[in-house]
């Protein structure tokens, strides 16, 4: 990985994650600088989604620490939230709001001054502008996913956390996603994404989560 000069860093140090009283992974470290990307890989249930929620601040680590430019993330939760775009398994699309209304709400919450121009550009990029007045409930699976991804462009945030973002996308849309990610990185953004499919990100790091599975002793003592 290359490192810029004026760049930020996002580091994890000895992270451990407990879900449902079970240790999912332990002793996980990584370091990410501006412009870099990280693939999370591993079989089903190895903790990719859990790690992404942890990085987003939705889950609290059972041990270890996340830091942004060396400062622990836990000290400034709202500041961290402002740095992040998270795309999870759920689409967060309101069935009765139109495509544009759905997107605009999120854009304004992230950046109140974000213009409608930005939302329009995001929808156009993901090929949804012609559907802007269609209510959310009439979208197909892939259209929903694209609307969800359009949030990434509707407001700026340096860190993108994407949980299997290519699910339900057709090939053309996967290409668009790859291009969008490349631009984000070119502008100094970071990307962490989990996937089982092939997504083409040049020079991305790879983190195999099954390697951080706890030894059974640790697992059985999760709590104690």
């Amino acid at each position: 990985m290359t490192e810029g000069c004026l760049s930020s860093t996002f580091t994890a140090d000895g992270l451990a994650c407990v879900r449902g009283e079970r240790v999912v992974f332990t002793h996980l470290n990584f370091r990410l600088s501006s412009g870099e990307a990280l693939f999370l890989l591993g079989p089903n249930g190895s903790g990719k989604s859990s790690l992404l929620r942890l990085l987003a601040g939705l889950l609290k680590p059972a041990a270890g620490q996340l830091a942004w430019d060396g400062r622990p993330v836990s000290e400034d939760r709202e500041g961290h939230a402002a740095r992040i775009h998270y795309v999870g398994h759920h689409d967060a699309i309101k069935p009765v709001l139109s495509v544009l209304e759905n997107l605009r709400f999120w854009a304004r919450l992230h950046a109140p001054e974000a213009g409608d121009a930005r939302a329009q550009a995001a929808l156009e990029r993901f090929g949804l502008w012609h559907l802007r007045e269609v209510p959310g409930k009439l979208l197909s699976a892939g259209q929903k996913r694209r609307l969800n991804l359009a949030r990434l462009l509707a407001a700026e945030a340096p860190v993108w956390l994407l949980d299997e973002p290519s699910v339900a996308l057709d090939r053309a849309s996967v290409k668009t996603l790859e291009a969008v990610i490349a631009e984000h990185r070119a502008h100094g953004g970071m990307v962490v994404l989990s996937t089982h499919a092939d997504i083409d990100l040049p020079e991305a790091g790879r983190l195999y989560l099954d390697r951080f599975a706890p030894k059974p002793v640790e697992a059985a003592e999760a709590w104690i």
Binding site: A16, R19, G20, P216, V217, A219, A222, W223, I224
Partner: protein, 254 residues
């Protein structure tokens, strides 16, 4: 993970204290019952029915004390994330609920001869009933989630929010004119009660307290063991037979 929680030390401590509190409970109960049922005078107004006081009032105290314990433990659990605290809260609520029930029923049994009715919608009685519902809600919430830690957190928040009810119970008789007796023992200054009645009341109060401590210790031990059992179960369940990470290798639990 939470190595500082150190339940091993707690288990040792609990095992050491428990015989003493249990013994004290027996002695105090014996003395309290003797003075309460035999060697104390009947009230000049209430007659022999005053003897209900020696179980009614201590159980009322204990009901509130158990809730306070629960709320305090929940606070510790939420702020410092000490997992033992959550277990203490979980262990306390059924005990508190049981004594709230005793207070309600003995109060009713006392009310019939004294006020001529089993129940009145008076502030103290009502707030005590609400306390009972709060206990029930706490227990229901604890068990309403698949993930026990999640249940503990939600119930903890409820316990803290419900704590506003405790001062209401305590001071309702002072704030509103009610049917129920105002404080005569626990009020500021000298208790306005005959020492011959105060002695058994105090003995029973102490006995209930040591009883609570004994039961609480036992329940917390039990909860710790339950966590261990679940942890082992989970590793067994999730270990994929044959995969490198899944085998049940390792030392037995301490």
């Amino acid at each position: 993970m939470h190595r500082f929680a150190n339940p091993a030390r707690f288990l040792r401590l609990a095992a050491a204290i428990q015989p003493w509190t249990a013994g004290a409970t027996l002695i105090l109960l014996g003395l309290g019952l003797y003075f309460g049922l035999v060697d104390s005078p009947a009230d000049y107004q209430q007659g022999e029915s005053v003897r209900i006081m020696y179980v009614h009032v201590p159980s009322a105290w204990l009901a509130m004390a158990a809730y306070s314990t629960m709320a305090a433990a929940s606070g510790v659990g939420i702020i410092w994330k000490h997992p033992l605290a959550d277990l203490v809260a979980k262990a306390a609520s059924p005990v508190g609920a049981a004594f709230t029930f005793v207070c309600l029923v003995t109060g009713s049994l006392w009310g019939k001869p004294m006020w001529g009715t089993w129940w009145a919608w008076d502030a103290r009685l009502t707030s005590m009933l609400i306390l009972f519902f709060l206990y029930l809600g706490h227990m229901a919430l604890l068990n309403a989630f698949d993930d026990p830690t999640r249940g503990a957190k939600a119930a903890g928040i409820l316990a803290l929010a419900g704590f506003v009810n405790i001062p209401i119970i305590k001071f309702s008789v002072d704030w509103w004119n009610t049917l129920h007796q105002p404080a005569s023992v626990s009020r500021v200054g000298m208790p306005a009660i005959d020492p011959a009645m105060l002695l058994p009341l105090m003995l029973m109060g102490l006995a209930f307290t040591t009883f609570f401590v004994t039961i609480l210790l036992m329940r917390v031990r039990s909860e710790i063991l339950a966590v261990k059992v679940r942890a082992i179960r989970l590793t067994q369940i999730h270990s994929v037979p044959g995969s490198a990470t899944g085998e049940l290798v390792g030392e037995s639990l301490r």
